[in-house]
Each structure stands twice: as C-alpha cells, then as structure tokens.
C-alpha cells in the first residue's frame, strides 16, 4: 500500500525579552543554577504574575508577519500538571483565546515549487525550568533559571506531507523570528525547538491517521530524522496489522529513534481554566499599528526586491534572503561594489564555502562586507583577475589585511600593459613550435594551452581579456 505522511509542528520560540514573561528576573542564558529564578519564578506562596509588555509586542510582530489576526482580547489560562521543573504546578499559557489567530507562511520545496503552510495560532506562555539528570546520589537536580522565560508557541496546520517539508517550514519560521528580532533562534541553547505531530494514512484517504507527538526536537537535522523514523515505525506497525497509539514520544538523537514517554501518559487531564491572577489581554488597534510600523522587510518581500532591483536570479535571491544577516551582508557588498551579480556569486560561493568549512555564522565572518566589496572593486577595475581574487580572498580570510594590501604585498597586480603581455606571448610561441604548427593546422583546442602557458609565465597576472585578444592575433597572424 502507498502511504501518505501528515505532519503538523508546534514550534516553541523563546522571545528575546530582557526580563521574564511574568516577572522582572533576567532571561540571560548560562547563569549559575537558580540565580535567575526570582520569587515569582520559584512559585513562592503569595507571589503574583504581571505580564511583560515586550513579550506581547513580539507576539503581535510575529502575528503581523504571518498575516494573522491579532486578537483584540485574549486570555491566559493555567495548564495544570505536576512536574519538578514546573514550580507552580501549572504553566501559564493561552488556551481558548490565543493572542495570534490564523495565519500562513510560504515554503520553497526542492523541486522549485512553493507551498503555503497554515499557522493555526500562536500563543504566549512561560517556559519551564530544567531537570539535570547528572547523578546527585541518584537524584535529579532542578534549575529554575529558565522558568518563566517567554515562549511563543506557533502551531501549524497539519499541512506538511514529508519530513523535508517540515524542515523547510521550520527553517522558514526560524528565519522569520530572526528577521523580526523576536528570538535569537539558538537551537543548541533551546531558544527554538519543536514538537512534531506525525501520522500516516493510506494515500487517497481523507481522514487523518492516529498521530504521535514527538517532543522537544532541537535541530533541523533531528526533525528530519525523527519524522522519517516515526513514519517508518508507524507504517511498520500498520502493515504488521497493528494500531498506532496516540502518545507522546521522545527522539533519541544518539540512537536515531523515537521512544514512548510513559511517564507523562497519565497526566493528560490538564484542567485548563482562566488564570484568575491575570486579566484578559486587550490589544488596541493603535498598538497593533505602532508595532506594524516597526516591522522590518520580511524574507519574501526582500527576495522579490533582490530579483527586481538587483536583477538576481530567483535562486540567488532565495539563498541570500535565508537569513536577515546574510541578506544585509550581501546588500552591503552589492551597494559598495555596484555589481550585484558579482557580489551574489562571491557571497554564495567563496564566502559561504569558507564559513561552512569553518563552522561560522555570517555575523562571525573574518572578512567583513566592507573588506569583500574592497576585493570585488579590484576585480571590477581589473587590478586583479577573478582567479587571483580567490587567492587574495584566502589571504584576507587568514587575516593578512585588506585586498589592496594583499595585492601589493604579494605583487598580484594584473598586467594590463599590452607590450608586456605581447612579450610573454612571443616567448611562449617561440618555445612551443610544435604546438603552434598543430594549432595552425586546425587544432583549435590548443588555444587554451597557450593561454595557460602565458598565464604561467606571468604568474597568472596577465589580464585575461587582453591576453585572449592579443594571443588570438598572434596565433592567427
């Protein structure tokens, strides 16, 4: 039988506020255990939550970016369950009335097609603390520094049909929250993570199959692997005549498999009810407009502009707008050097290659956008050839100074003096009479041989265009 996969994602994005969602404690990552858990975060008797305006504005920003309705009135509810990293015994979240309603994003598929993925809702809630399972005499240690960090939970429609689509969607949301500067997107630190709802059904069947929820996946790679594993598992179960159980599963990256989380099974009765310590969140139209005014250019709009304004191919524009930082870098180079396609090629080629190899982010590049445009300027003004430029780039990457300095120090300036090039050509022709004869006898391919020899003789510094022209004259002469 042919099976169809159905996936929906719940993405948790930690909002980049200074203080927590309901308390004035810092959200900074990496502090000593429990030194950023104030009385409110610890759930001390008698303490009360007060909502952070910054978190609300960030939620509105996200809602506007996915063309969603911002609820004029939304309600915070308590989700009740006992867990040691949940100090109050309930999580303050939003249930019936979330702050962000239905919206959508467009993802790019591998075959070049685009697909619209629906976002059911996004709501504000508080994060829990962390359980540390290192051995404390066989006990678990609880660090509540993360407790109360604001989260935006972004719930998708079950619109994805493959692990690849799920990854594309997750990347799109990741880019979006970083464009909006509402989340640092750091997946290693858990700032951006997701739960995946996965089910399969016979192709053509309308009703959904029973789904399993895979919890807390914190990398794009794991999302793909976890989903693919889970899909296989479910198909095996169904083809073996079994039934998929609706349950929560955990992805184990070491083993590359998902397993059932039995511990959480009995606590599914969350007893949601409106939090009586908080009043309804009302958002006025002018607040929404004020937030709208702070929206940056979003990835889709930027991509169109890169195509229209810079004349870039669709593919280049897509790659360059994947992150706001990359797009900004490209634009700085393109503007400074004046040749967008050249800038695009370099940013996507040499620069991205070097960054990938070194495992660096664009923001950590040892070659700044100014430095790169300085290099490209020397290509444009013919001081160096594109090939030599790669050598210069490498030196710049290694910290040997800017383009001009490297060119000067290494003597890489291009030879544009015709008489010097002609002299080199003459010498090469004189040294290779056999090849000359063969060329003139019709073996055109040998043209390249002569170019190579002249380049070798000039240490690659001969201006390629001039060389071509002069060589042709001499050979055909």
């Amino acid at each position: 039988m042919e099976w169809e996969t159905v996936i929906g994602l719940e993405i948790h994005a930690q909002l980049a506020t200074r203080s927590k969602i309901f308390s004035g404690a810092s959200t900074a990552y990496g502090a000593e255990p429990n030194t950023q858990a104030c009385l409110v975060d610890l759930g001390m008797p008698g303490v009360l939550p007060v909502l952070n305006e910054g978190a609300v504005r960030m939620a509105i920003k996200f809602g506007l970016a996915i063309n969603a309705q911002i609820a004029p009135r939304s309600v915070f509810a308590r989700k009740n369950y006992f867990y040691p990293d949940l100090p109050k015994g309930y999580q303050i979240s939003q249930f019936e009335l979330p702050v962000v309603g239905h919206g959508q994003v467009t993802i790019d598929l591998e075959d070049g097609q685009r697909k619209v993925i629906g976002v059911t809702r996004a709501h504000l809630e508080e994060d829990a603390g962390k359980s540390l399972h290192e051995d404390f005499h066989g006990m678990t240690g609880i660090d509540l520094n993360r407790a109360g960090t604001p989260l935006l939970e972004i719930v998708s429609e079950p619109d994805m049909r493959s692990a690849k689509e799920a990854v594309a969607y997750m990347k799109k949301i990741h880019a979006l929250v970083r464009y909006l500067e509402i989340c640092d997107g750091n997946m290693q630190e858990g700032s951006f993570r997701c739960d995946a709802n996965v089910s399969v059904r016979p192709k053509g069947q309308h009703a959904f199959g029973t789904r399993a929820e895979i919890k807390n996946i914190n990398s794009f790679r794991f999302v793909e692997r976890a989903i693919n594993y889970e899909v296989e598992r479910q198909i095996d179960v169904l083809e073996g005549g079994g039934k998929v159980v609706q349950e929560t599963r955990l992805y184990d990256p070491d083993k590359g498999e998902t397993r059932s989380m039995r511990g959480k099974e009995d606590s599914h009765d969350y007893r949601y009810f409106p939090d009586p310590d908080l009043l309804p969140l009302e958002i006025a139209a002018d607040t929404i407009e004020a937030v709208r005014a702070t929206l940056p250019e979003l990835p889709d709009a930027k991509r169109s502009r890169f195509v229209d304004h810079y004349g870039l191919p669709e593919y280049d524009a897509t790659v360059l707008t994947a992150s706001r930082e990359l797009a900004d870098y490209f634009e700085a180079v393109a503007k400074a050097c004046g040749e967008a396609k050249l800038a695009a090629n370099w940013v996507m080629g040499e620069l991205s290659g070097a960054l990938n190899k070194a495992g660096l982010e664009i923001t950590e590049s040892p070659v700044s956008s100014d430095a790169l445009s300085g290099l490209l300027a020397r290509i444009i003004d013919k001081t160096i050839s594109g090939k030599i430029a790669k050598e210069v780039f490498e030196a710049m990457w290694n910290g040997e100074g800017d383009a001009d300095r490297v060119i000067e120090q290494k003597g890489l300036r291009q030879i544009t003096d015709s008489s010097a090039i002609e002299a080199a050509i003459d010498a090469v022709i004189a040294a290779n009479p056999t090849q000359l004869e063969q060329y003139r006898g019709g073996k055109d391919k040998l043209f390249g041989f002569f170019v190579g020899q002249v380049m070798k003789a000039t240490q690659g510094k001969a201006n390629p265009a001039q060389l071509n022209e002069l060589l042709k004259q001499k050979l055909d002469g």
Binding site: S23, N34, T35, R73, F136, M139, G141, I142, P274, E282
Partner: protein, 95 residues
C-alpha cells in the same frame, strides 16, 4: 452526583494527594454530599449567560520589559527541603 471509591482514588491521584485506604469511603461520602449540594446549580438555565471569570471588568496591565528582580538564592534555598550545588533535588525523574 455520587462518587465511588475509584473516583476518589482517581481524583486524589490527579491532585497528587496520598489518601489513607481506610479514609477513602469517608472522602467519597463527603465529596458526594458536596457535589449533591452544588448540583442545585443545575436548576438555573444559564444558556445565554456569559461566564464571569473575574469580578473586575478590566484589561490586563502590562509591565515594561526591564530586569527589576535581584535573586537571593541563599535565602530562597535556606527553606528548601534538599538542595545541592544550587539545585533543588528530587527523586530521579524518568522521562
């Protein structure tokens, strides 16, 4: 509305309350009588009534996003049943 033994055990579990085996019948009786009493609510048709979660018909006030709290871990943990290396200790959590 009458609660039986299993109901009481189930609710006590949901609320994480240890209840003596021998006091379960008494809880069942007391809780049932409270629920019977509460059941008088059913007499009223509330079909068209909007629920009231709160006495104040006001909107939530917002706090500026600023760090205002100093954390005194020592004082907070002096009253904790078991801590080590700044962490609260609990019996092993199995996921």
């Amino acid at each position: 509305m009458s609660l039986n033994r299993e109901d009481v055990v189930k609710i006590a579990h949901l609320a994480r309350l240890a209840i003596d085996e021998q006091s379960v019948p008494e809880y069942a009786r007391n809780l049932s009588s409270i629920l019977d009493f509460v059941a008088t609510m059913e007499q009223v048709d509330t079909h068209a009534i909007a629920p009231m979660a709160h006495p104040l018909d006001l909107a939530q006030r917002l706090r500026a996003d600023a760090v205002t709290e100093e954390v005194d871990r020592e004082t907070c943990q002096a009253i904790a049943p078991q801590v080590e290396a700044g962490l609260y200790l609990v019996p092993k959590v199995i996921e």
